[in-house]
């Protein structure tokens, strides 16, 4: 097999050139630590292009000209060595360099040495993310990159996740960073047909990722111009290295459970509070004159409430017979398995990396499952000495078995509303409560989400091909030309069917189905020149100039059907009524020109300028082009004479940058005046006014200042970096609320200003080196977000988060809850109206409409951080990462039902509701229960709470089987490990999880709202990693 493979690969390497031979040097390169051979070490003759690489045994052989004096040995992760050529052999040992100052960082349209970078770039390496037992790349990165805030919406698999780089720079335009894989912009927009987003990066096997470089400041990002306002994620996949084929096999198996539970009333408590709610409502009805006597009212309510008790107890009058903990019923112990196999290798001419993955994760929520099958081939081949070609290609298939959105009665966690008196299995039928035949239309109190597990499905199949082909041509010395063509093709099919037993959730007695196809093709063509040269010993110049063209085409179609002969039929061809459907297309394009020059004087004084001109189809012809320049300077003090020989300071660089970046993430035709033909009536075609033209629509612009330093001590055993930044965004692409009396609600305009200001910093340290190793890396970021100008606009969709001038995005704004009137049990609110003296009136009122809303808290954590500790001793390694977010609040939007002192229906209540007001004089925060009287359940600070948290995000413990044992079984490497995810959580938040933003309403400014949102899973896996 191996031989065949190599034969195929050799076909790619065509011609080799033979040079005049002078003399041959041979030798072996080994690791200073354990003497093991190092394959793939680059060996070059200093000052020339002549070079080779070591083979699998660490040996090399190089033909050098007679003039050659010195050989340079370089290997990623090791300090380079320069050795004078003496005899015919030259062997050496390389020392590991944990700080990798020589590390090459991927930047836009090229790469650069870390040391010479003046922009702000955070990198996450393969080592930090591989084999994390999660579904998506972002989850694996959480807590590991300073200034990159990653927040999951909830604990469903493959669902939307918010990733923001240095705050949120836009309001109603997109705020996701641009995602570039191997130089090609990929489609990172949500493709879910429901209002709950799915994660488009879920199709990427992150075990193929070599590094993620996050461009944070204008200097680093401006090369991506108009697309870079929200930061850029450059994902680089793994490449083959010189040497014999390496086979790497990973397998892990594990289990997920909810990270936290929430406690609800038991049967005795529930009966008590509902009975009391009937009394409360009777009192109100009597007072309103709806009954002649109080006794009539009480009797009527008692009979109504007790009738419900019997109904919800499956018809039994013995209400206390059952005590179901429905919350636990939503979850299951969820197994998962993951298998990864990759083969890589290469020679002077051709290098390859081939991988495959199979992932099968069962969700801890019943009915939820995610599978991914992924294959990749990355290939480079030197066709001529000055011309190489290559490709990176991945095929993926993912299948997400989704569950209902958070706002559906069918979402697993809305199960908590069901009554504890209701048995899981209805004894009358022996079937799940709520099943047919039987009185399922109003039993149990709501639709039972467990019915969805076997009677409904929503399968999202995604087939995604992501790849590029490229050619590099070294035209003359120092000047290369690169041309690349990339495609991201996504074919998504969403197939759903809801059968007869879930009619209460769908309103369809005879089944309903929907099938949606989405195709997105995204092309990128990049052509650019790179010029790298050193002039004398003092000057180096690195310049890039090029063009880019992107084209994106969405094509979708959908069909809906109702009335199926039986639930065995699930495809819409079998539906008697085709009740709806559409086909739809949109396109956009970008044409761009970019340039960059990096200049260094004596490696001490660094200067970089870059610029990009973008034009997009999305903007009106009047303002189609935008120019985005940036510049930065750096001073490497440690190269100065006064520090060069310091034993303490091994590296010190200060840097500053300033530039302009943009945002164009709006709908494709936002500048046009439009009519929509979707307004037929009773089979007659009709059209409707849809959108008002704005031919002056232009780019949203962010000017960013960054000042920072990087420092290393003790030969870089201790390093730190710190950046202060300020991002001023203006001409916001804002969906401006216009008077709805115009017949439209919003228009996209360039209106508004906001800023993000803060710092991100990181420290890493090798606390112990030697046999017992301990290293720590820590990152922290603070971001203050403030909207400074909106022309008086108030942006809100959920009436919980408000975005207004002088406040952060999505500030919680609502009346302030003032507890309970001890005299009568009414919920109270502070008036908080401003008096003539400017002071707030702190009088309490029971009239919600009289209470002035207040700024009640920030939904975005200003502080984010992570700390990773890694230990190793002999064959053992242990690593764990804590991640935290601080200084924000979460609003429990489900509180109006679940913590509603039984005043908003028969929903089961959280246990804290038992301290309700019962009689005059009671002092409590929980108002009198009044059935359907909504006493205290309106949006207020009652349901708002602090949400800061710290959690043990990931932990892994591994053991490397000793080499002598491996030698006997002919293995190169073998490691057994245990990985854990979300082992524990520390927070004062009382809900399931403080890391939350309910999926159906999550947006840039609807933030940190909890609505029956599932907690993060706690996952533990065991695995092996074997190398051949």
């Amino acid at each position: 097999m191996k031989k065949n493979l190599l034969t195929i690969l050799l076909l790619f390497s065509c011609i080799s050139f033979v040079f005049a031979q002078n003399r041959v040097i041979t030798g072996k390169v080994t690791d200073q630590k354990d003497g093991s051979p190092l394959p793939g070490v680059s060996v070059t003759v200093k000052g020339t292009n002549t070079g080779t690489q070591t083979d699998v045994a660490g040996s090399y052989s190089i033909t050098v000209p007679a003039t050659a004096k010195v050989l340079v040995f370089r290997y990623v992760g090791f300090k380079p060595a320069e050795l004078p050529i003496g005899g015919k052999t030259l062997s050496t040992q390389l020392e590991q360099d944990s700080k990798q100052l020589t590390e090459v960082v991927v930047v836009g349209y090229g790469s650069q040495k870390r040391q010479s970078i003046t922009g702000s770039i955070t990198s996450v390496s393969a080592r930090e993310i591989q084999n994390t037992p999660v579904t998506t790349l972002e989850q694996a990165m959480q807590g590991k990159a300073a200034g990159v805030n990653i927040q999951a919406n909830n604990g469903k698999l493959g669902q939307g996740i918010k990733i923001s780089v240095r705050g949120t720079a836009s309001l109603t335009a997109g705020t996701n960073p641009l995602v570039v894989v191997d130089g090609v912009v990929i489609n990172s927009g949500d493709l879910s047909s429901t209002s709950a987003a799915t994660d488009p990066l879920a199709d990427i096997n992150f075990n193929d990722v070599e590094s993620v470089d996050i461009l944070k400041d204008a200097s680093a990002a401006a090369i991506y111009g108009a697309r870079a306002g929200n930061g850029v994620l450059l994902i680089t996949t793994k490449k083959g290295k010189n040497g014999d084929a390496k086979v790497n096999l990973n397998a892990q198996w594990g289990n997920s459970n909810p990270a936290r539970h929430r406690e609800f009333l038991n049967t005795a408590q529930w009966l008590k509070i509902e009975e009391r709610a009937g009394v409360g409502a009777a009192k109100q009805d009597y007072a309103a004159g709806l009954y002649d006597t109080m006794a009539d009212a009480l009797a009527d309510y008692k009979s109504y409430v007790e009738g419900k008790f019997t109904a919800y107890s499956a018809g039994s009058t013995d209400w206390t017979k059952t005590n179901t903990n429905w919350e636990k019923e939503a979850f299951q112990s969820a197994p998962q398995a993951q298998y990864d196999l990759n083969i890589s290798g290469g020679n002077d001419k051709t290098k390859y990396y081939i991988s495959g993955q199979y992932l099968d994760q069962t969700g801890m929520l019943k009915g939820n499952n995610f599978k991914r099958m992924s294959g990749r081939i990355n290939l480079d081949s030197k066709v001529f000495t000055n011309f190489d070609v290559g490709m990176n290609l991945t095929f993926n298939h993912s299948l997400n078995k989704r569950v209902d959105n958070d706002d559906s009665f069918g979402t697993p966690l809305q199960i908590v509303a069901l009554s504890p008196v209701t048995p899981v299995i209805d004894p009358r039928t022996g079937l799940l409560s709520g099943s047919l035949p039987g009185s399922a239309s109003s039993y149990p109190v709501y639709f039972n989400p467990l019915l969805n597990v076997d009677n409904a499905y929503y399968h999202t199949n995604v087939y995604r091909t992501l790849g590029n082909i490229y050619a590099n041509w070294q035209i003359i010395k120092h000047l290369t030309f690169r041309s690349e063509f990339g495609v991201d093709q996504t074919n998504q099919n969403e197939d759903s069917y809801s059968g007869r037993l879930v009619f209460r959730n769908t309103s369809q007695p005879n089944g309903t189905g929907e099938n949606t196809n989405t195709t997105i093709v995204h092309y990128t063509v990049n052509n650019y020149f790179t010029y790298k040269n050193a002039f004398g010993n003092d000057h180096t110049l690195d310049a890039t100039l090029g063009t880019s063209y992107e084209y994106n085409h969405y094509m979708g179609n959908d069909i809906q059907g109702q009335q199926f002969p039986s639930d065995s039929y699930k495809q819409i061809i079998d539906a008697a009524v085709k009740s709806g459907g559409y086909s739809s297309q949109t396109e956009y394009s970008f044409v761009s020109y970019f340039a960059r020059a990096n200049y260094a004087y004596k490696s001490k004084y660094l200067l970089s300028v870059s610029g990009r001109t973008d034009a997009s189809s999305r903007f009106g012809a009047n303002n189609r082009y935008g120019f985005f320049p940036a510049g930065s300077v750096g001073w490497v003090l440690s190269e100065e004479d006064f520090l060069k020989n310091s034993n303490l300071v091994s590296n010190l660089k200060v840097k500053a940058s300033y530039g302009l970046i943009g945002n164009a993430e709006i709908s494709n035709y936002a500048a046009l005046g439009l009519f929509y033909g979707d307004a037929g009536y009773n089979g007659v075609p009709g059209q409707r006014f849809y959108q008002l033209a704005n031919p002056n629509l232009k780019w949203e612009k962010t000017a960013q200042l960054d000042i920072g330093f990087e420092v290393g001590f003790f030969n870089n055993r201790l390093t730190a970096g710190f950046d202060y930044y300020k991002k001023n965004t203006r001409d916001l692409l804002l969906d401006v609320n216009v008077p709805q009396s115009l017949g439209i609600a919003t228009q996209t305009q360039n209106l508004g200003k906001l800023y993000n200001q803060g710092f991100d910093g990181s420290i890493s340290s090798d606390n112990f080196v030697g046999k017992f190793k301990w290293s720590t890396s820590f990152n922290i970021a603070y971001n203050k977000n403030l909207v400074t100008y909106l022309n008086g606009q108030v942006i809100t969709k959920n009436n919980i988060n408000y975005t207004r001038e002088g406040q952060p995005i999505g500030e919680f704004y609502m009346p302030e809850y003032a507890g309970v009137d001890p005299a009568n049990g009414d919920a109270l609110y502070y008036l908080n109206t401003k008096g003539t003296d400017g002071k707030l009136d702190r009088t309490k009122t029971n009239d919600y409409n009289k209470a002035q809303s207040i700024n009640a808290g920030n939904p975005t954590p200003p502080w984010n951080g992570g700390i990773t500790n890694t230990f190793s001793y002999k064959g053992f390694d242990l690593s764990f990462t804590f991640q935290g977010a601080f200084g924000y609040k979460v609003f429990n939007s489900g509180g109006q039902y679940m913590s509603a002192n039984a005043s908003n229906g028969f929903d089961n209540q959280t246990v804290d509701q038992m301290s309700y007001w019962d009689k005059p004089g009671d002092i409590t925060n929980v108002p009198e229960p009044r059935l359907f009287y909504a006493n205290g359940t309106s949006t207020s600070t009652r349901y708002l709470s602090g949400a800061s948290y710290v959690r043990l995000k990931t932990a892994s413990l591994g053991y490397n089987i000793p080499k002598d044992v491996l030698a006997k079984i002919k293995l190169d490497r073998a490691r057994v490990f245990v990985n854990a995810y979300n082992l524990f959580l520390i927070t004062k938040y009382k809900g399931w999880d403080p890391e939350v933003n309910s999926d159906y309403q999550a947006s840039n400014y609807n933030l940190s709202v909890d609505f029956y949102s599932a907690p993060q899973p706690r996952t533990i896996t065991f695995g092996v990693n074997i190398g051949l």
């Binding site: 709806l290 030309f481 009524v577 020109y593 439009l674 009773n682 009709g686 006014f689 439209i744």
Partner: protein
């Protein structure tokens, strides 16, 4: 070296030219799903399809799909229903504690103005319509606009009979289509009298311009019927009588034989059914378009609803035994008493039907002491006989109003609108309580500084 130079030249020229020439073509991408405004309103057919779009908007769930009539009933039918729904914004209506951020209040406002803007587009471009159908097209647009303003005035302004309609504020009057946002895009609220007058002007014009043939579109009788309802709301019984007589004497409509047949649900299977002989105007609901909001809240899950509204058994005590109309009140499979008028998920959403016109005529004749068209008792007996009840010899105003309540229960928002007109206590609140008037949506006040909030609501 020369060769290399020429390569460089080639690449440079090639990429630059390729990119530049691509520009304009590749950047001018036109929408596929929509069309640009300048292509939308050029022909007679274009304008008529905008009118169809106006009907489409009118069928929205918070307007004539049912919200316009269901929501006032929620505010006023405490004696007849028990609410057990979970939409807190609707619970607040039942509790007469509406908040300024109520999503349903906002949606009604927005969707009403979407109908009005569509109608304004038709009216402004009616000259493009073929002469033969021009009047009918304009009349239908005026009908939809006038009716919508009437319902907006009833929901967002004080009752006609509450204080001075010429100073009480209703809603902004927008009579031109939206083509740009300019200084006149921020209208103030017009008075109750001005908005009623606009509705009368539109409906009267519509009445004269529309034809008399019966279809699912509005016709001249639809306008007369809504005018009769409007004048009755104003207490202008003489005018209401005239309009009612126009509808009845036209002879195009007849009461269905059985009361339940007015709410067709063939084979208990959800399906679109054409208007009955009694329907004067109803919003068409099909599997593909339209919503029957009544179904959503009154029907149990067995029939596609949420089952949020339970009918109080005490309400049925208002009927006498043998009244056929009791046949639409039944216990569901769980023994919960429900109103079955709206069990057909794809049943049309009623706007106005002939029985109401007989009741208006009877009430007006009774109040005016006249017998225009027919005596009050003969109109009432028509209604009673259809319900399987015996004829009365004489009838009082109280009896007429009671008959109206029984016949039209849960259909037209009459628990609130009649309660205000007749100055009754409504669910514990006085008929003219501020709590029985919708607030102006806060989001609208934020976007239009010229609007003032209704009394009783704080920002």
């Amino acid at each position: 070296m020369k060769k290399i130079r020429s390569y460089i030249k080639f690449i440079t020229v090639f990429t630059t030219v390729a990119a530049l020439s691509a520009c304009n073509k590749e950047l001018n991408l036109k929408p596929h799903d929509q069309i640009e405004s300048d292509q939308a309103i050029n022909t007679s057919a274009d304008v008529q399809s905008i009118l169809i779009g106006a009907y489409n908007r009118a069928g929205g769930s918070d307007v004539y799909g049912g919200g316009f009539f269901l929501e006032p009933d929620l505010m006023g039918s405490q004696s007849a229903i028990t609410w057990q729904g979970t939409f807190q914004d609707l619970t607040n209506m039942v509790d007469q504690q509406i908040t300024i951020n109520n999503a349903f209040v906002n949606s009604m406002w927005y969707n009403a103005y979407r109908i009005i803007n569509q109608a304004n587009y038709v009216i402004a471009n009616v000259s493009k319509v073929d002469a033969a159908s021009r009047d009918n097209t304009e009349g239908q647009a005026e009908f939809l606009r006038g009716m919508t303003y009437f319902d907006l005035a009833r929901m967002y302004g004080k009752a006609w009979n509450d204080g001075t309609p010429t100073t009480n504020l209703a809603v902004p009057l927008v009579l031109k289509p939206t083509t740009v946002i300019g200084s006149d895009s921020y209208p103030s609220r017009s008075t109750v009298a001005q908005v009623y007058q606009q509705a009368i002007t539109d409906l009267t014009s519509a009445e004269s311009k529309m034809g008399t043939s019966v279809s699912f579109y509005a016709n001249s009788y639809s306008a007369s019927a809504i005018l009769a309802r409007l004048y009755l709301q104003q207490g202008d019984y003489a005018k209401a009588l005239v309009e009612a007589n126009k509808v009845i004497s036209g002879g195009k409509y007849s009461l269905v034989d059985n009361y339940a047949d007015e709410f067709p649900f063939p084979n208990q299977s959800a399906t679109h059914v054409d208007n009955t002989s009694e329907d004067i105007f109803a919003m068409q609901v099909t599997t593909q378009q339209g919503t029957n909001t009544f179904n959503t809240y009154y029907a149990s899950a067995d029939y596609g609803g949420r089952g949020d509204i339970i009918v109080k058994s005490s309400f049925l005590n208002n009927f006498t035994s043998g009244d056929d109309r009791l046949s639409v009140y039944n216990e569901d499979s769980d023994g919960t008493l429900r109103c079955d008028k709206f069990d057909n998920l794809y049943g049309n959403a009623h706007v106005i039907r002939l029985a109401e016109i007989y009741l208006i005529r009877a009430e007006c004749n009774s109040r005016l002491g006249s017998s225009s068209g027919a005596t009050p008792v003969s109109d009432i007996n028509k209604i009673r006989n259809r319900a399987g009840l015996s004829s009365l010899a004489t009838v009082t105003l109280t009896q007429i109003l009671n008959e109206r309540k029984l016949e039209l229960a849960f259909e037209g928002g009459f628990f609130l609108h009649d309660g205000k007109r007749l100055q009754q206590t409504i669910g514990g609140e006085a008929w003219n309580s501020n709590k029985l008037v919708f607030p102006i949506p806060q989001i609208e006040i934020n976007a239009n500084k010229n609007l003032v909030q209704n009394p009783g609501y704080t920002n």
